[in-house]
């Protein structure tokens, strides 16, 4: 299947729209991306969609890069996949570029506008009240997000090694200066050795 110029354009415009839906992080818009790329357009399949998210998580960098991985996979699917040579890689890069640009443009412009506005109006009572009022909420959100990230099987008997590892991670990050990469390496090693399944 080959994408027409109009398809490429609609890929771009879809992510333009998704950008403004992604309140609370790029991943919160993942269901909408899935609906468009997998269910409606059949440009990539379920496994490829899941792989894109997993790969971006395994690699360093902001989470939003899973969008680039998806765009790459849409492009690669056009001509022979990852083994398809230069042409296929170029399609992949084009897909990644369009998706990332779409994802970042609207929210980026809005953020810049608001950042500038709130800096020029930082004396306004509303701006101060907003910053003061939101502070405890976003701190609470961080704590909850961390907790939700670890909700694997909903079975304490199976999950306790993962919870224990998370608890160690909380303590180390909170109370020590140990480099985060050591901690991630520990998690990956324990996982790969199969020690996290009870």
């Amino acid at each position: 299947m080959t994408l027409t110029l109009i398809d490429w354009f609609s890929l771009f415009t879809h992510f333009l729209g998704v950008s403004l839906l992604a309140v609370g992080g790029a991943i919160s818009a993942a269901p909408e991306m899935h609906r468009f790329l997998v269910t409606d357009q059949h440009w990539i399949d379920d496994a490829t969609f899941a792989n894109s998210i997993t790969l971006a998580q395994a690699a360093p960098g902001p989470n939003v890069l899973f969008v680039a991985a998806m765009g790459m996979n849409v492009g690669l699917a056009q001509s022979g996949g990852a083994q398809g040579g230069w042409l296929s890689w170029c399609y992949g890069a084009l897909g990644a570029l369009l998706c990332m640009l779409g994802m970042l443009l609207p929210s980026g412009v809005l953020t810049l506008f608001i950042a500038r506005w709130s800096r020029h109006n930082r004396e306004l009572k509303f701006v101060k009240a907003f910053k003061a009022g939101m502070a405890p909420i976003v701190i609470g959100l961080l704590i909850s997000t961390g907790y939700l990230l670890n909700n694997h099987n909903h079975e304490w008997a199976k999950d306790w090694p993962l919870w224990a590892l998370s608890a160690i991670s909380v303590w180390v990050v909170w109370r020590t200066k140990i480099h985060l990469l050591w901690l991630l390496g520990l998690g990956a090693t324990l996982g790969a050795l199969g020690l996290l399944q009870a």
């Binding site: 790029a26 690699a59 960098g61 929210s107 009572k125 009240a129 961080l142």
Partner: protein, 236 residues
């Protein structure tokens, strides 16, 4: 511009009167922030921190910008993160845009985001080419599970580290901690949708902060040395 920013949340209250009623502590932990030397410094710093962030870079951003480089205080980090979180789009990218823009204008915003994305993006795309079907590999899946558990702990710790920043909040420490608890209860235990919590509880909390600040203003009971009409609602 940066100088007055570093006074932080309500440092401006100090300017107008000699005898402030100290309802909340006005001293910042780090009165003078460092700042990036140049756009290159900004770019490489953000590239370096992005390359250390597996499963999300928020914890690294806090460690590097607040604790190591001291480009932000904890209070400023919470303020910026509030805005980055409420606005649509990837949160860390929003944070980078705001930080870059503050120091080097529009160009700074681009440089910060380029730093966060360029090198990691090339890495991710290479990985897609080489290990496209990583989810089928049981070893990789198990390793990722371990990394996810670590990342979950890191994000919780990031939140915990920001709690002391609430001491200076005009809401009052007790109420601020109460709002933290209500948020955790709604999102983690009751599993209410994040966006709803952000806007409903955030809205109530903002209204509460507004009311408290009004009370603080009244308590200080000083005539307004108003300099401009547009800023009539600012502190005394």
């Amino acid at each position: 511009m940066e100088k007055s920013y570093t006074k932080g949340l309500f440092g401006e209250c100090l300017q107008a009167q000699t005898q402030p009623i100290v309802i909340f502590d006005l001293q910042m932990t780090e009165p003078n922030n460092a700042s990036p030397d140049s756009k290159w410094d900004l770019f490489w710093s953000f590239t370096r921190l992005a390359l250390q962030g597996f499963g999300g870079v928020l914890t690294v951003v806090q460690r590097e910008l607040v604790e190591n480089k001291k480009w932000l205080t904890y209070e400023e980090f919470v303020e910026d993160w509030s805005i980055a979180q409420v606005l649509p789009g990837p949160n860390v990218i929003n944070l980078g845009l705001m930080f870059g823009e503050r120091h080097f204008g529009l160009a700074g915003a681009f440089v910060a985001v380029a730093g966060l994305l360029c090198v990691p993006c090339i890495l991710v795309l290479t990985l897609v080419l080489c290990f496209g079907s990583i989810s089928d590999n049981p070893l990789a899946r198990d390793a990722l599970r371990g990394m996810n558990a670590v990342v979950a702990g890191m994000v919780v710790a990031t939140g915990l580290k920001l709690i002391p920043a609430l001491k200076k909040n005009p809401i009052g420490t007790t109420f601020a901690l109460l709002w933290v608890a209500v948020t955790v209860l709604s999102v983690a235990v009751l599993k209410l949708p994040l966006v709803g919590v952000l806007f409903v509880i955030g809205g109530i909390s903002t209204a509460w902060a507004w009311r408290q600040m009004g009370l603080i203003d009244q308590a200080q009971n000083t005539p307004k040395p108003s300099t401009s009409t547009s800023d009539k609602s600012s502190a005394p």
